[in-house]
Symmetry: D3
């Protein structure tokens, strides 16, 4: 059952888990939905699987990105931030049990009702984290408490799959984020190294245009869009 105050329009809004391949994907993909949920009383946990670690990246990169992520999460109202610190680019080559185990622990600790995960797109880490997230959210055991698993789009990466040969992101769920699109853009601004100038896909203009476009598909001013992987309605009482 949901707690005393949650968003009446979003199924399973009390405890939310957002799975990010890398810190910033959660903001790009569903930052405004996170802010909306948090504003309505949800307990939102973000778990970021990968970090840009040596030797592929300098030793100062990961700590800085983590600090940026924490600042962004503060803007959005995230309740708890978890960093698994698995190696970016190479996570898909590591033992399956390490990634799955890390995510499983967070699921067990947070018992989410709603889980937002990345779409399996061009980026090899997104594919690996998607796969692990689908495993730990299976509707068995602790997973039976999860009401909704939905995939978010990560600007640019999500649109670089090869049509016909790879899956395409085709959203089924639109969330009105008119009230929180500004918070999303402010939060993304905390990632100093990621924000691009227009016409980059990670520019303020592109983020706002995507939200306006997704909104226009459902008669909302601004929206974030998701592709539902699984929704369940267990036996339950009345609201």
């Amino acid at each position: 059952m949901s707690g005393p105050m949650t968003d009446a329009m979003i199924p399973g809004a009390a405890r939310v888990l957002v799975v990010a391949p890398h810190p910033d994907d959660e903001v790009l993909g569903c930052g405004a939905t996170i802010a909306r949920l948090a504003a309505h009383g949800a307990e939102v946990t973000v778990v970021a699987a990968c970090a840009d670690l040596p030797p592929l990246y300098g030793a100062d990169v990961a700590p800085q990105v983590e600090a940026e992520a924490r600042a962004a999460h503060a803007v959005l109202g995230v309740h708890r931030s978890v960093f698994l610190d698995l190696p970016s680019v190479e996570v898909s080559r590591g033992p399956v049990a390490v990634l799955n185990g890390g995510l499983q622990r967070v699921v067990d600790e947070t018992r989410p009702e709603l889980v937002l995960i990345p779409f399996p797109d061009r980026h090899v880490d997104h594919k690996a984290v998607f796969d692990a997230a689908m495993v730990v959210t299976r509707p068995i055991g602790a997973g039976t408490g999860i009401r909704t698993v939905a995939m978010y789009e990560t600007v640019s990466e999500t649109f670089w799959n090869a049509p016909g040969a790879e899956p395409a992101f085709v959203p089924t769920w639109s969330v009105d984020v008119t009230a929180t699109i500004d918070a999303k853009i402010e939060a993304f601004g905390r990632f100093a190294s990621q924000l691009q100038a227009f016409p980059g896909p990670r520019s303020v203009e592109a983020l706002r245009a995507l939200a306006l476009f997704r909104g226009s598909q459902s008669s909302m001013p601004y929206a974030e869009a998701f592709q539902i992987a699984r929704m369940t309605s267990p036996a339950g009482g009345c609201a």
Copy 2:
């Protein structure tokens, strides 16, 4: 907003519209979900598009089926039953505006939050009614109040599409119907002419097996499964 008492586990449970190509499809596809929703206070309207009319069918067929449907609806707790009486098998050849207009009127009258529609399967009427239902539930105008449009499976018909050449029913949403599977089977029993002996797909055994199978996919004893066509979360207050 939802009314004073609704099912806390089903998004948009206050006012529900079920679109049936022919009377009995709504029972086969989502009879137990209807019963669950009604039991939790939802106002459920069923609109049946087609009737088995002369000259393809005898003059007594349609009235009898309608009476059976009303009896079945009473078992399920349906609030209102609408029969558009368009000609079975031939509805897809009639003016588009007649079918669409008939459904639109019911949408306008009931202002549903949740709409359950048939999957576009082997039966030509199912395709036509699916198409019309997708038109009248577009997220514009009155349609913006609809939070969820989901397709149900109609035993047998739904599984006779040609794989690869036609769409396959792949559910995304499971509803626990353990408490109401018996009501569904009782309601289907009201259709004297439709109930088959085992191993027919419309036998008591097949209906129960389908619900048990759909349940087993989501760790529920019995479930009905739906493929979500569209879900929207408009800006809203707290529950």
Copy 3:
């Protein structure tokens, strides 16, 4: 072979045919590409299949829309506008030969190298016109001169198909329209009855956001996106 001056970046840019189910679809779907092609010397023909005719529409509707379309075409630099005046909503129920024959005549007259056609989406007329356009552009006879057939997106309609049960628009081709996005918006403004206020999908804001979003997918400021149905490279000389 192409003429003396054409757009070097667009295959088959000398003679272009744009097939619109209704006047305004061509502007929504590819108005800025039309303007770009025309500005580079292409001879662009627009053929609109349907008109909003009595008895479903008032007698003054079709003439007014045609006048608006001609004004919009003038903004875009369209060379020739053809109106087949088949009945909106009901065209799919008419003789196949009438729609196909009407389009075939325009193909024969214009001998296009590039043909832009609607995606088969929610609107029944879009499906019918898509189907006819695919027939008249088959790579046989006169059709062998066509180098590219591509589908455009019609805001909103294209995104109201049911994911999984109906095809989704997944673009393969992006055209930079930074130089002509303003012309597109100006042209759409000529359709007095169609332009919506924000947040409607046919608002200035939504059109601009779509172009910015499509651009961001390919590192362009503004783009229009197409799904290629067929591209052919006949034996040819050097440019």
Copy 4:
């Protein structure tokens, strides 16, 4: 050519190879078909690719499961059981040649006409074994003797793929297993550690419901369903 006595209704029924990611998948997926084939004189070989090995599992797990599998195979009439003993969960990370080579040897030894393989579903081992099985059954060399390669469903795992983003199991082939469904359930009972209480997906009730549901799709009392990956009809004589 087929031997002196085989099932007249199943193409290539003389020599059958069943590829299981883990022991028990073959029983869940096609145990009743195995029993039917064996009862009609087929020589059925089961090869299980993976075992639950240390350090992820205790040292006693694999031997016990193998003993259970042999007992189950005896119930079904399996001719020969092969255990490759590759590490569960981690097989996809090992050298491709090890898994492929192991399966290739069994294909070479058994020269199957019919090969039943897992669907590439949620479980990473299922994906890896599917992939290897597709390689060793290519219609070249020894593989040209294989008449049918078909994928079976593994309860639960097969239904936890993300619709739209991952492939869905959509069967094309139904095998009547009314005569052997009891043998399947008895065989699965040999896996003491795997059998679940209802409503688990691996309960007696769920297995029976799946078979009844698959049967109802084809007017059979009980059936197992397969998705055909490849069928070939080489030049041949008369039966």
Copy 5:
């Protein structure tokens, strides 16, 4: 059960029904398979749904094509030829019951085990006849005797669907037709008006190349390829 002599490599080879939208499609799509089946003792019935009738075609067209078809069928060893004489191009607009009823009668008369039907491709008649054929071969009533329903490719038409927006022919079944490819080409030669000069898709060279290409996919010299829509293995005895 199969009769005293049938092709041991083809499931359900005793009584075969081939559904052709227009006379000649059956030769293009599966003429060599027909010849192979007939040579092995099968009773092959061909039913052609449409004829090129006035006013769209001259009054002499249909009788001439029918005569050509009978001559072609004689070459292939067809047992019985049925011509429903429904109007080409317009059959999809006629009453559903007329086309379905015509095909149903032939199914009832021939009680086929194997049914070969067109793929739903570019040609509107192919779509309509595919749909009707799928209805009359449902696995209920008389249809439960049908063991295999497979779709054939009709050169050119089948490859003019729009990728991504329409289904693509992706074969699952290859039939070695090395012994009968010449008969197919001879039979197609009986259609004086249809045979094209190279490089037409209906030229001798193209037909032979298609068969060689399909063969090369399965290590056969020449093959015809099919996409299986449904295969069933009812309970049965031994062969």
Copy 6:
């Protein structure tokens, strides 16, 4: 912009990069297109990712294949041949950065307008190289100069995916190669160890039949077919 002389019918014909998993895939997949492009003045670079290295292969294998490839490239008019010498079969298990980095360097050096890549098919190396090629051709940074990324078919391998469970090659682009099909076959003849006798899929007869079949789909005598992954038309001047 294109250089002084290029093929007027092929978008981005000045600088072409062909990515081959193994030497010979580029000839099988697009050898005749390479020859056509080169004959019209294009600068074609071929990069082969993998080599058959010890211990899986003898030490003399890779050098011999490389010599054969260089001879084949000379026949086709290839400008530059690059061999990354990554281990066949095992490349997918190596660090992602090695394969991606190797391809990225070639992209940076050649600044291609057109990139031809393998379809992700049965062969594990083809999947890995496809994936890496899609990464290095993303439309960002240096990649924005790429106008077209297209997938070619590799005879046999491409047709051994499991329909429904894996992607199917469905071409969108046909290139007339009537003038260069002989060069392709001659070039493939340079791979002494790869050329098969008929009816092998890598026989002269099969290669010619495939080209004739692909041609017949677009009214060309001989063609090679591609599935377009991405096409972009940046802002540009006139030709």
